[in-house]
Amino acid sequence: MLRSAALVAGKDLRVELRSRVTTNQVLPFALLVLLLFAFALDPDRGTLRSATAGLLWVAVLLSLVLGVQRSAGLEAADGARDALRLSGLDPAGVFLGKAGALAAQLLVLEAVLGIGVVVLYDADPRASGVALFVVTCLVTTVGLAATGTLYGALAAGLESRDTLLPLLLLPVVAPVLIGATRATEAALGTGGAATSEGWPWVGLLGVFALAYTALGLVAHGSLMEEA
């Protein structure tokens, strides 16, 4: 399974390095979302600053949809899915590999967006919250990548997959939005929240990530068959 995962992750990351879809399209889109929020809320700087955590993760979720569409689309083109099914690669490994590659791209995106909210929203990260923020990003990313990969495979079997994917995926990751926002608020100290208040939310995000990773490992093979 791990060998299959490494092969698939390497392939997906190499595709990204060549096509630069994440860096040239998804990342600018995410920054544009941050910028539009700034335009909309700029008259009230306090509102923008207090909403920083939520806006950051909304931008990540919207970008996630694009990333998942791209990741699933790679296998939909030119008979690649059939080739994958005939390759003998472990379906659980394929899931892990695709989720791993997606997670790597999301982490880069979150790093840039993190800088973006500091510059655009005047977010003022405190030293005591750095570890919490980093762990929040890591755990959230695992959950989002696992859920996105699973729903990408699910939507691949549907005729209107591009329009249905956000409708299927976004409600499912709503708990992640809530948990990541609360943990990030604690890391930033928004609204007077203490750093320690963020860790229980990280625990919740961890449970979500574990649950969807386990579900993906079990279900991805069947979804590949149905697509």
């Binding site: 299959s4 392939k11 060549r18 096509s19 690649a80 059939d82 390759s87």
Partner: protein
């Protein structure tokens, strides 16, 4: 000797439509068999069933000794399918594609180079992203990927499509060589002049059933 492909009254559904509606067919080891028939006859479905990609709803279906109704996944690593798509990632180079698919099935790099040589994929094209290649060059690369797998059963859907004369000659030689080594080839084609040159025999499909099994010279015009 047990046939490599053995179908008896096999039914395969696409949704509720029986794309294969009681097909019976036996193909032996080392045979090259052309499957012909009008559009919608079930040729592609037959190939996908034999690859273990589509389930058999009724009847008997055994490929390479594997009962497809019991476990169709078990046959997949032993067959090679060249469908309408090439199974190549557009943003990767030919070599990167070959290395990915080759590693997936455990082929070594020497086999991959040999496969590219057999299809005469020029050295300068091996490191070019697939989306920059012509249709024919992509098809050559796809055949090379298939050859590197060294399948026991080759399943090809319109394999000559997009290939130039040299590419077609090379493909036919490759199929002949594979059959000579004991592999079995089942391919669908509308290009009958070319296909009948390489095929040992022909089966005709209509309405999801095998309606005739003929030697090449006996095949009536469609």
């Amino acid at each position: 000797m047990e046939p490599v492909v053995h179908l008896r009254s096999a039914v395969a559904l696409l949704g509720r439509f029986p794309a294969l509606a009681g097909a019976s067919l036996a193909v032996g080891s080392g045979e090259i068999v052309l499957v012909r028939g009008p559009n919608g006859a079930g040729k592609t479905t037959l190939l996908r069933v034999c690859a273990g990609l589509l389930p058999v709803a009724q009847g008997e279906a055994t490929v390479l000794g594997v009962d497809l109704r019991a476990d169709r996944r078990a046959v997949r690593t032993r067959v090679g399918l060249l469908g309408h798509g090439n199974g190549l990632y557009d943003d990767l180079t030919v070599w990167e594609n070959l290395r990915f698919w080759g590693r997936a099935v455990g082929a070594d790099e020497a086999e991959m180079h040999t496969a590219l040589d057999l299809m005469d994929v020029a050295e300068r094209l091996r490191h070019v992203p697939v989306h920059r290649l012509s249709t024919g060059q992509k098809r050559r690369a796809a055949v090379a990927v298939l050859a590197a797998r060294r399948p026991e059963l080759w399943l090809l859907d319109e394999p000559h499509a997009g290939l130039d004369a040299d590419g077609r000659d090379r493909l036919d030689a490759l199929l002949g060589r594979a059959a000579g080594a004991g592999a079995t080839v089942l391919f669908a084609s509308h290009e009958l002049d070319r296909a009948e040159q390489v095929a040992h025999r022909t089966v005709v499909l209509a309405g999801g059933r095998v309606v005739e099994a003929l030697a090449p010279l006996e095949v009536p015009p469609c």
